[in-house]
Symmetry: C2
Subunit: 351 residues, 2 copies
């Protein structure tokens, strides 16, 4: 793509901001040379840091503000008092149309609250969801919701399925991504009311989703489907359980290699192969939880991300914009409402 795209960045969000943000933007420019960045934050720190990154030259504008949303701020407090914060001003740039998308590595809850307030929900979507990629045996898949909604009804899950499907198409480039609901078994009667109700709706003829039924927890890493849909409580715990298990393995493996001299030599000989393994599981590749369901593109980078991780989060936002994520969600919602219309009518008539 060569059309210019404008990306609003909360330059003060994240453990290593603002340097990490600026260096991330510089890395992202290699992949997206037509990008223009709006950096929101402390000009006194941003200007000299940006000057040290020659690739950024002519590709950024600094919007000064002294205010920052801290990592421990409550979302409601941040929303009320953070109107001049770097995070809020970056979101507002998307609201006014000055920017095409916003990326922040700051406080997740505050970002969600501000993005929801500023960008509003897409008409037809009741609640936003957080989605992310994770590595699988087959490549990578999308998991949502990762914690935006502790409790979800069947309709929420159906909307998440649609949003996840469009996300996989626009960012992973899949033509017909497969979608499943996370459940405790594969039989039709398993699970709670929300999951079963969502399955009934997703199986209905005419639904524009390649729905595969249920997958269990081990289906996530197996890559059983491209998009796995669940409520925010379960999704958050599944994601963090997987992260914890991965860390357990990495630590055990490191200890094993330090176990003896022959193991250490073995490690050196296998070093390149193991580095490839690390690359395949590099959390930076999977950085960026996306807020889906908003009427605008907002990507959350991990707070501890480095410049490469942040650049990947920027890449996700660019892909969503360039590949028409919002337009495709609108199309999908229109198709969904056509499918459910015949069912709804007799019920209304019966009242």
């Amino acid at each position: 793509m060569s059309a210019r795209i404008t990306i609003a960045l909360d330059a003060m969000g994240g453990d290593r901001a603002p340097d990490m943000v600026l260096r991330g933007a510089s890395i992202a420019l290699q992949r997206h040379p037509a990008a223009h960045f709006l950096f929101f934050g402390d000009e006194g720190r941003l200007a000299p840091a940006a000057a040290k990154l020659p690739r950024l030259k002519d590709s950024f504008t600094i919007h000064h503000t002294d205010e920052v949303v801290t990592g421990d701020a409550r979302p409601s407090v941040a929303l009320r008092t953070g109107r001049r914060s770097s995070m809020r001003l970056a979101i507002d740039a998307v609201v006014t149309g000055e920017a095409d998308c916003i990326v922040s590595a700051g406080n997740t809850g505050a970002l969600m609250a501000m993005a929801k307030f500023g960008l509003r929900m897409l008409p037809g979507i009741d609640r936003p969801a957080m989605a992310s990629f994770f590595p699988t045996q087959r490549g990578e898949s999308v998991l949502l919701d990762l914690g935006a909604n502790v409790e979800c009804d069947a309709e929420n899950l159906v909307q998440f399925a649609l949003m996840g499907e469009v996300f996989a198409r626009t960012v992973l480039g899949l033509l017909h991504p497969t979608v499943a609901l996370l459940n405790v078994g594969s039989e039709e009667l398993k699970g709670n009311d929300s999951v079963r109700g969502a399955a009934v709706r997703l199986r209905a003829p005419g639904v524009p989703i390649n729905f595969q039924g249920y997958v269990e927890g081990d289906g996530i890493a197996a890559g059983a489907v491209d998009v796995i849909v669940t409520d925010g409580f379960t999704g958050n715990i599944a994601l963090k359980t997987a992260e914890g298990t991965a860390r357990l393995f990495t630590d055990f493996l490191r200890n094993s290699f330090q176990h003896s001299l022959s193991a250490r030599i073995g490690y050196l000989l296998a070093y390149r192969a193991l580095r490839k393994l690390r690359g395949r599981l590099d959390p930076r590749r999977y950085n960026g939880a996306v807020f889906l369901g908003l009427d605008g593109i907002c990507v959350k980078s991990h707070g501890s991300a480095d410049a490469l991780g942040f650049a990947n989060a920027v890449g996700v936002a660019v892909d969503m914009k360039v590949n028409g994520f919002l337009e495709k969600i609108r199309d999908g919602l229109a198709q969904l409402s056509e499918v459910s219309a015949p069912h709804d009518k007799p019920q209304s008539a019966a009242l």
Copy 2:
């Protein structure tokens, strides 16, 4: 311990039954020489197989039956039609007092239904839970419920906390195991009503549980606490997500070592250390999901367990019996009801 303990075994349950069951019993005898086994199943197959295992001599009795609960049988159907099955007769041996505990690698749902029907619930426990061990950075911990109850209220979770605590004391040998609720954050207001309600009750003074509040999903593998309590939906998905992630790592690692000649030589040099890693994560060590809350000891071995895994499941049942699991649950329930009594009275008086 030298007191004789009698263990009822469903000799026909599991993918590799009955050989795996008999060989598992033989291995378990090494650790528990005072054990006596009741094998329930097809005598024509059991007698010659047992004769080949000299260590079993004089330590078993065969109870013949032709009937078997198949792996795909619905629990309700198995309960109605399987009265002469090896699984049901093994449970009945505990009901009549002929055996001290029962172990089966057969159909999980059928075993739960039959055990609940035959053994009944412990007075004061509303629902049974499934618990298991898993490896952590610090050793091993207990997770429950793993899928017996898709939806749980606060009182269920409090009872699970008590049962998990006693299980960790009797089987892991911990004096004051730490207990936490699985949640999507560590702040008090996080989570759903059940989790928050259970936390309030578990924090009350006088509750005989070393309650540590909330842990997130990554706290499971980190070994943040000894006992992690959650509803059966979340627990099942967390367990299987961890299993799937472990498999992903193992497969990626194997592929890495086959990547090049030097990686293969490296693997050979590191072989012993890697074997130790495998041993530490060996699923057979963690074999055996226990049904807690029943008025009797019932352990479920994994259906695909081998003899060593099955022997470990037998060991769990023996530890529970010998260390007075049921008596300790009764004591804990009595203490819990004393704690909650003062709260309950004013409410009753107000009616």
